[in-house]
Symmetry: D2
Subunit: 337 residues, 4 copies
Amino acid sequence: MIIILKEDANAEKVALLKGKLRSLGFDIHESQGQRQRLLGLVGDTSILEPDDLMANDVVADVKRVQEPYKKANRKMHPEDTVLDIGGHKIGGGHFQVIAGPCSIETKEQITEVAQDVKNSGAHLLRGGAFKPRTSPYSFQGLANNGLKLLLSAKEATGLPVVTEIMTPEHLLLFDDVDIVQVGARNMQNFQLLKALGKTHKTVLLKRGLANTLEELVMSAEYIMAGGNENVILCERGIRTFETSMRNTLDISAIPMLKSMTHLPVIVDPSHAAGIRWMVPSLAKAAVAAGADGLMIEVHNDPENALCDGPQSLTPEQFDKLMAELRPEVEFFGKTMD
Amino acid sequence: MIIILKEDANAEKVALLKGKLRSLGFDIHESQGQRQRLLGLVGDTSILEPDDLMANDVVADVKRVQEPYKKANRKMHPEDTVLDIGGHKIGGGHFQVIAGPCSIETKEQITEVAQDVKNSGAHLLRGGAFKPRTSPYSFQGLANNGLKLLLSAKEATGLPVVTEIMTPEHLLLFDDVDIVQVGARNMQNFQLLKALGKTHKTVLLKRGLANTLEELVMSAEYIMAGGNENVILCERGIRTFETSMRNTLDISAIPMLKSMTHLPVIVDPSHAAGIRWMVPSLAKAAVAAGADGLMIEVHNDPENALCDGPQSLTPEQFDKLMAELRPEVEFFGKTMD
Amino acid sequence: MIIILKEDANAEKVALLKGKLRSLGFDIHESQGQRQRLLGLVGDTSILEPDDLMANDVVADVKRVQEPYKKANRKMHPEDTVLDIGGHKIGGGHFQVIAGPCSIETKEQITEVAQDVKNSGAHLLRGGAFKPRTSPYSFQGLANNGLKLLLSAKEATGLPVVTEIMTPEHLLLFDDVDIVQVGARNMQNFQLLKALGKTHKTVLLKRGLANTLEELVMSAEYIMAGGNENVILCERGIRTFETSMRNTLDISAIPMLKSMTHLPVIVDPSHAAGIRWMVPSLAKAAVAAGADGLMIEVHNDPENALCDGPQSLTPEQFDKLMAELRPEVEFFGKTMD
Amino acid sequence: MIIILKEDANAEKVALLKGKLRSLGFDIHESQGQRQRLLGLVGDTSILEPDDLMANDVVADVKRVQEPYKKANRKMHPEDTVLDIGGHKIGGGHFQVIAGPCSIETKEQITEVAQDVKNSGAHLLRGGAFKPRTSPYSFQGLANNGLKLLLSAKEATGLPVVTEIMTPEHLLLFDDVDIVQVGARNMQNFQLLKALGKTHKTVLLKRGLANTLEELVMSAEYIMAGGNENVILCERGIRTFETSMRNTLDISAIPMLKSMTHLPVIVDPSHAAGIRWMVPSLAKAAVAAGADGLMIEVHNDPENALCDGPQSLTPEQFDKLMAELRPEVEFFGKTMD
C-alpha cells in the first residue's frame, strides 16, 4: 500500500501516523519526490481500508498495490480449484450444467423437470424454495415444503441439488442440499456469509446487481476466511441503462474472475437476459469466454410458472441447447461429465 | 394493469389467459385497436408481477397503471406520517438531526460525542455496533458490547439512539434501541424486513446503492405489510461513475419519495459524499429540497476513527454546521424541536 | 402508441388533445376501463415523442407499441443486410476481421502492421488519423497526414481501410476511405450523422459508452433516413461500475441488435477490455454470440504506441488469435472470406 | 505521477522506459520498497495518459498525483472567475437565472416568454434553434430562422441570449449570441470545443449524461487551452437506474466542481428532472449547495410545446418560483443583479 502525503503535511502529524502504522506491524519505506512524499507500507495490508487512512489530514491519497483478498487469490493458489458435487466435478477443465425451474411449485413439476433435464445431460438440479421478491405481495416460494419436494426429486433422479438460502436461521434446513446458493441481493449479507463460512457446504455465490468483481471476491473471502473454501462464483447479469432486457451479462467477468481467483466461475444466462430466446446465445458466449459451467432455468409450463417464466426454456428447448453446447464445450477443450 | 397482446396472438391461448386472470379475481376490459388488442385489468394488481405475465406467449407487453405499493402509498394516506422518537417528532414539518460516530469504539468516545452533539442541538444519537464491511479483515464493530456502550450513552445524555441491525437473529438485542437501522446492503434482505415488520420498532430504511426509489418503497412495504408502519426512508447516495467522491447524493429522491409516500424522508450526507468538507453543502441542499431530517457522522478524533473517518465532522465542525442549519430549517418553514 | 389518461382528466382538454392528434393524421381508438381511459393511436407514431405527449396535463402515461425506427427495423427488412467492402462481404453469414493500430504513427508502422494483419488473415485495415482524446494535451492524431499514410498502406497491401471521422467538415478528406467510423463519443453527434446520411460511404457506427441499444439504432436511423443504408453497428463496451478493466463488453447487444435490425453487428474487444490479455476471450465470446465481425487493435510495438498500447496485440499474438478464431467461425457456421 | 513497476520487471526494459521518460523532459525519483519499485515523475505530467504508460510490460500501475487540467484548475487561479454577460455578472457571489423555452417556435412565443421571464426577474433568455433529438423524425428546431427569432426577442427585451450550437460549421451564425451552449451529447465533441476555443464567446458547457466531473473539466480545458477562458459549467442531471424521472441531478457536482475549478457552475433543474413539479425543489437545493445560477425552461403553452413540454414551467409558475428564490439567494449571501 502506498500512502501519498499532502504537500503541506504537518510533520508532527506525519510522525504520529507513522507511529500508528508501525504499531500495527508495518515497515515503512519512505520516498521524497520534488513535490510528493510517499510512504510505502510493507506487511499484510489486507487489514487496512484505504478509506480509513484517507481520514487522516496529512494523507492526499492511498493506493493499494496488493489485492485485499488472500484465500481466494490465484497468486496464493495458482492451480484451478476443482470441486466435486456428488461425483460431478466442476472447475479445472470440468464443465457442469445446472438446470431446473426458478421456483419449486409442485412435486410433479419439480420431478418432471428434474427427469427432463437429466435426460438432456444436466448433472445438477436447481429449484427455489425461498424466493427473494421485490414485492411482499408476490409469490414468496414454498419454503420448507419446497425444500422437501426438491429433495424428493433428488431422490427420484439422483441429481445433486442447488437451492437458495436467504437467512442464517434457515441453515439447519439445508442439510441435504448439495450446493447452497447465495443470491445477488444477499451478496453482501455478511452475517449469512459468515454463517456459511463455518459450514463445509459448497456455496454458489452470485454477484450483486451493481457490485464490482473485487467486491464479489471479497464476499467469497468472507466464506473462505471462516474455513470453508468450497465456493463457486456466478455471474448473473448486472444492472445497466439498457431497457430491452432485464440485466446485462458481463461476459468479461469470466476471464477476469479466473485471473483474480482460483475458484470455478459459472454463468446464469437466464437471469442475465430475462428473455427466453436470448438464453442460447449467451450460454454459448459464456462457454467461449471460458466459463466452468452454466445455470439455466427450465420449466415444463413456462407460461404458468409462478416466477420468472419469461426466461425459462421448455424441456424441448433445453434439450436442443444441450445438443449444441456439448460439441462447443469439447471444441474449447473441456469435459462435461 | 394493461396487457398488450401480440398482433398474431393465438385465440385459444388468449382465452386461457383471460380465464386465469378472471380466476385470480380480475375484471377484464378489452379494447381492440387496428393492430393492437389490449386487456385492461380491474382489481388489486399489486399481486401481479409484469414479468410473470410476460412469460405468456401471447403477451407483447405489460404496463402497470397503479403503483405496486399500498400501505406506503400517499394516495391511500394523503397526510404526512409524523413519528415520535422519545418525544422528538419527525415528519410533517418536524425536522430532526441524528448525529454520532460511524462506529462505537469506547465508552468515552460514544459518551463524549453524544454530549457534544446534544450540546449542538442534535436530538438523536447514532453509532454502529454491527458494521457491514466489504472485507472480512476490516474492523467489524464491537457487536453486543458496542450496543451496551451506546445504551449507556443514551442513559447519560437522554438521547434516543439509532443503530444498525444486520440479521434477524440479533433482534432480541435491540429492545432498548429507539430506531433500528437497515443498511443499504440489506435493503433487500427480505427476511430481515419481514422480521422487523412483526415488531413495533421504528425502522430507518436506507436506500441500496443501485436501487430505484420504487424498490426502496417496496422494501418499506415489506415492513408495513407485516403490521409495522413506523418507517423512515433514508437517501444516502447512490453508486455512479463519478470517482471524485464515494457516492452521488440523489437529491431528487427527496421530493419524489415524498410524492410517492407519506413517510418521513431523511438524508445521510456523510455516506453520500464520503468526504468531510462536502457534508455541509449537501446537508443544506437536503434541507432546501424538503428533507425531514439529516443523519450526520461526528467523531471526536476522526483521524483515528476505526471506520469512515474521512467523512466524519469534528464536534466543532458539527456545531458550526448546526448553527447554519437552524436558520435554514426555519427559512424553509420547518421546526427543529 | 397508447396514451393513458389521468383519472380526473378535464373533458375539454381531452377533446383538444384528440383534435390535435387527429390533425396530425392519427386515428384514435378509445377504451374506457373502470378507472383508466386509454387512447390508442393508429398511424405512423415515429414522429411522436412520448415525452412531448407527457407535457399534457391530462396524460398520465404513454406507452410505445411500435418501434420508433423504420429503415433499420428488421420487421421491415427481414433478411440480413450484406455489405461488400472492396470485395469482402460482411453480414448474412460472412464474418470479417478488421485489424490495425489505434493511431497511425509513421509510414513504416502502418504499412508493416497492415502487411502483418493481412498475412494473418484480416481483410480490412484500421488506423486512426483523427483521435478523440479526453485531454487537449494528449496526442491528437496525425490528421490529414495520417490519412495519407493509411491510404498508402491500402495501396501497398490492397486492404480496404477503416478510419474515424470527428466532424462533418473533414468529410472531403475521406474520399478514398472504405469505411468511415463514427466513434462512441460522437454516436449522438447528429450533424455528423446527417452529413454521412447524404453520402454513400459505409459507416461503422460505434455505440456510446452509456447509450441504450435503441439509441444506437436511432442513430443508425439518422444515417439511413438520409438515404445511406450502408451501416455497420459496433458494440465496444459500455461504462459500468467495474474498475478492473476499461469498459464492460455488452455481449447481449449482439443477439438483441440482430433481432431489432437487419444490419451487420461487429464487436471491438480491444476497446471493451482495454487490456491485451483479455482480447482473445472476448473475441471468442463475440463469435459464439453471433457477431458478424471483429475489430482488433494490433501494433508492432505496443509499449511505445502513442495511444491505447495496453490493449493492442502484437502481430504474433494476433496471428495466434486468428488461428483460433478461424475454426471457431466455421464451427458456428460462418465464413471468413 | 507515480509509476509502480511489476515485481519481476526486466531491468533492461525499465532502463528503456526511464530513458524515454527523461527524453520527454521528466525527472525521475526512484523508490525501492521490499516488493515494489516506484518511479515518481517530476514535470508537467498533463501530457501523459496513465493508460498509455500501462501498455509497457514492466508497469503494474500508474497513479496521477497532479490533476490533468491546468487552466481550469483552482490551484492555478484561486479566485472565482466572474463573467460579465451584457452587464450581468455570474460567479464570485453573483447569481443569474437563465430562462426561456426549450425550442424557439414562433416570434410571438419567444418574445412573449422573453418578456414574461424578464418581468419575473430573469436576466438571460434561453431558446433552442438547433435541437439534438434522439429520433430523426422528431422536430429538429427552426435552425437559422429560430436564431433570428431569438435575436429579435433579444432586441425587444434587451435580454442577452443563450442558445445551443451543434457543429463548428454553424459558428458564423452565432455572432450576436451572448452565450453559446454546448449540449450534453456534445460535451466530448472535441472539434467543436476546439473551434470554440478560438473564439472569445462565453461558452456554457453542459455535462454529458454519463461523464465524470474530471471529464467535464477536461472538456472545459479544451476550450481554455485554445485561448478562450470564458466558460460556464452546467450540471443537468446524469443517467442512473432511476425510472421515475428523466435524469438524476448530481447536486454534489456543485461543491466538487467549485473545488476543482474557478469557473462559474450553474444547474439546469428542468432537464435534470424532466418533470415540471420537481423543478422548484431542485432549484432551491442548487442554490443551497452553492450554485452560481440556474437555467430553467419556461413556456407559455407547455402542453403544446414542440419539445420538452413536461418539464417547462408556465410563466406564472416561474414567477412564483422566482419570488421564492430571491430571498433564498440572499439568505445564502449571493446577489441576483
